[in-house]
Symmetry: C2
Subunit: 441 residues, 2 copies
């Protein structure tokens, strides 16, 4: 193992402890997802009855596994977990993901059990994700030790204290064909926390941006140290920001959320983006992972929809982005190229009968004169995907195009050009990108 | 005709003036959409060559139409429109939707042409939508004189000064199986404006909420009078709120946007909701159209996802909604009904292994003790749709459930229970509903 967390995110072999034949149980669902996601190494169901599960014989106990399995995914009652971890240590298992609940989140008895888990794990040199979590997923490695089954590889890493919130992000990225590089549900963070994972992802070749959902940071000093050395953009949605929200967070994962202003100051200091909502978290990560660094602040909005151009202009101003007037040179050039009814200004309104060819003309004619093009497709524009280029400084928004829009959006996502659903979401995401690279206040 | 705008929204017969055989032209697209949406009355293509279009013979001129056609959809060059309207008047056509651009939005010459259109229309007693617009759509009437083809009937009316923005709203509603009651793209508002349509919709049996995109109100006094008498909720996204946005609006539809604070004050006075973004406009209309009036302010959050419960609590507090503690009576009752690992509080966290049956137990046990249930499904929960009831005071949010979520969401939408994609969007929409009914500040 080149890195201690490789056994979790890139295991060569996996045991599912508590594998089950009952389709409603996570011991069945996770085993099935590991197999269906196409994991290439050996997969060992562990079940005390030794039954066949999903066509595979199971071994009766951890002691019966071949020695040195990389990862054990554990889905058994909380009380049995310390003993299982002890056996895992004896069998030289390197890491465990503990799905089971019933630990610190459930009261004093569970908290004692969790302390025991930590002691056994330390003694046995086993790194642990969880307990009380939704597992891990690395689509680049064919590993879906989680649910739902999501297999689309991509460039956004998702670290989440909430399984559902993380799964929602990963589901959105999968549905958009953009996918994720890594997903980890941290659960109670008995051992591995957000900082460990961020540290690991710094050198992960697939991760371009890191999206994090947290209710509180576990170790502020380590977080500060690791994040200030991280050369990849990080966006954090920190929940429990209100009085009532903090109270709710305390009973969820026992996080001491702390005063919200402290997080705002910390994140600003570390150039970490603070998301306001789940969709903001997703949009920001999408922009930061897939869009190139701006060379300057000059935006040009190109649209077939006047209304969308106005909304984009409002949101640009609110987000600290400027929409400068066209230079005389560019305006003259465009007047020569475009039909008379187009409104040659910024926003540049090609009006409702614009075709992909007209967009392409404008995109090519203006590329050298602006720093970023905001291209809004506001109709069912055939071959819109042919207008945009991966790696070019282009923010793409598509709305009002129904089935054509969905087809073209998929084409764009397949060539890794992110598409945003509304002017406001696009411009807010672009502002994050500019802020990360020091191009806005 | 029982109402002057019935000829536009519920015509018995339609002529498409400028119908075309070229699939990229709106004269083809609109005719095709009218036919494909299943319009039940006669449809007359008008084309000077008298060619067959989409299997139908066309008539060569408006003069050749049978007298008294209800609606003419006009897609011919701007300069020919006044003459066409004159002929329409002679043929006793009652209303026109002018798709063509090249009027006031394009400069002085176009403005003069638009004045001529207004004069002819007045003289001929023809009501006009547009010019420079994306048409009208009434799915309850099988009339899609617009694009894209959208046919799902529903209860949200969409009035938009921007064709694309309105089409995006209607597309979202269609994709969610909720649909729309009416769509109108106002364009340059030479005759019919937002107030005319609102006035018409007051008595439309299908419309439960009205979503409006505007860059400016055309006639403030009439707007004030009509809206203060409207017993249906209205949500408005007013674009051009910033300095640069106002400038962009001025060149789009020549709207004088006016100072933003004036609109804020006006909307507050009229109990009109001001949407902050396009998705906010959609979400608010969805809640207002499909959710029942709250009897009071006591919310209970029921979730399988602790993280989503915290996010919902934050957004409730930010939106002015309270999440009160459970009464001792309800808490005791729930402790007797639920597995020990559930967190009996508000939010009520059923944790990650919750089933639809467990949700149902809680929903039934608490219905009489709270005013609104916020039900967050945060996993692939089979038969989640079986838990919710149309017309019950339940706000439903679903995330992190991937394919199961999409299936259950569709089932819920088919029974007219609106589902929101994130805690923040759900709670913001609920706050709109409460505000409309006077239940929050």
């Amino acid at each position: 193992m080149s890195h201690s967390l490789d056994a979790i995110f890139r295991p060569q072999s996996v045991a599912v402890v508590g594998a089950s034949n009952a389709p409603e149980k996570y011991g069945y669902i996770i085993l099935k997802n590991i197999l269906d996601a196409g994991f290439r190494g050996p997969v060992y169901p562990v079940n005390p009855k030794g039954i066949e599960i999903l066509g595979r014989p199971s071994v009766r106990s951890i002691a019966d596994l071949p020695p040195g399995v990389d990862l054990a995914v554990i889905i058994i009652p909380a009380g049995a977990v310390p003993q299982a971890l002890t056996e895992a240590g004896q069998g030289e298992i390197k890491a465990a993901v503990i799905i089971s609940g019933g630990f610190a989140e459930s009261g004093d008895e569970g908290a004692a059990l969790q302390r025991e888990v930590v002691e056994v794990a330390r003694r046995s040199a086993i790194r642990v994700v969880g307990p009380n979590c939704q597992g891990v997923n690395n689509p680049h490695h064919g590993l879906c030790a989680s649910w739902p089954l999501l297999t689309q590889p991509g460039e956004i890493a998702v670290i989440s204290q909430s399984g559902t919130v993380g799964a929602a992000l990963m589901d959105w990225a999968s549905r958009e064909q953009l996918g994720c590089s890594t997903f980890v549900s941290l659960g109670n963070r008995a051992d591995i926390d957000e900082t460990d994972v961020i540290e690991y992802l710094v050198t992960d070749p697939h991760t371009q941006a890191i999206a994090v959902y947290l209710e509180g940071i576990k170790d502020l000093d380590r977080f500060r140290r690791v994040v200030s050395g991280c050369r990849k953009p990080i966006v954090i949605l920190k929940a429990g920001r209100t009085v009532e929200g903090r109270r709710a967070a305390a009973s969820h994962t026992r996080s001491l959320a702390g005063r919200d202003e402290l997080y705002t100051a910390l994140f600003r200091q570390l150039n970490v983006h603070r998301a306001d909502s789940l969709e903001d978290l997703y949009d920001a990560a999408k922009a930061l992972a897939y869009l190139p660094r701006p060379a300057g602040r000059r935006l040009l909005i190109i649209t077939s929809s006047g209304g969308s151009g106005i909304l984009a202009t409002d949101w640009a101003e609110w987000s600290g982005l400027a929409i400068p007037p066209l230079s005389d040179q560019v305006a003259t050039r465009l007047r020569g190229l475009l039909p008379r009814h187009c409104i040659v200004a910024n926003p540049l309104d090609l009006t409702g009968d614009a075709t992909a060819a007209l967009y392409r003309t404008v995109v090519e004619a203006t590329a050298a004169h602006v720093d970023y093009q905001v291209i809004i497709f506001g109709d069912p524009i055939l071959d819109a995907a042919g207008v945009v280029t991966h790696g070019a400084p282009q923010l793409v928004i598509f709305l009002g195009g129904a089935d054509v829009e969905r087809r073209e959006r998929e084409r764009m996502h397949l060539k890794k050009v992110p598409v945003f659903p509304t002017p406001e979401r696009g411009l807010r995401a672009l502002a994050r990108l500019f802020a990360y690279h020091g191009e806005v206040s």
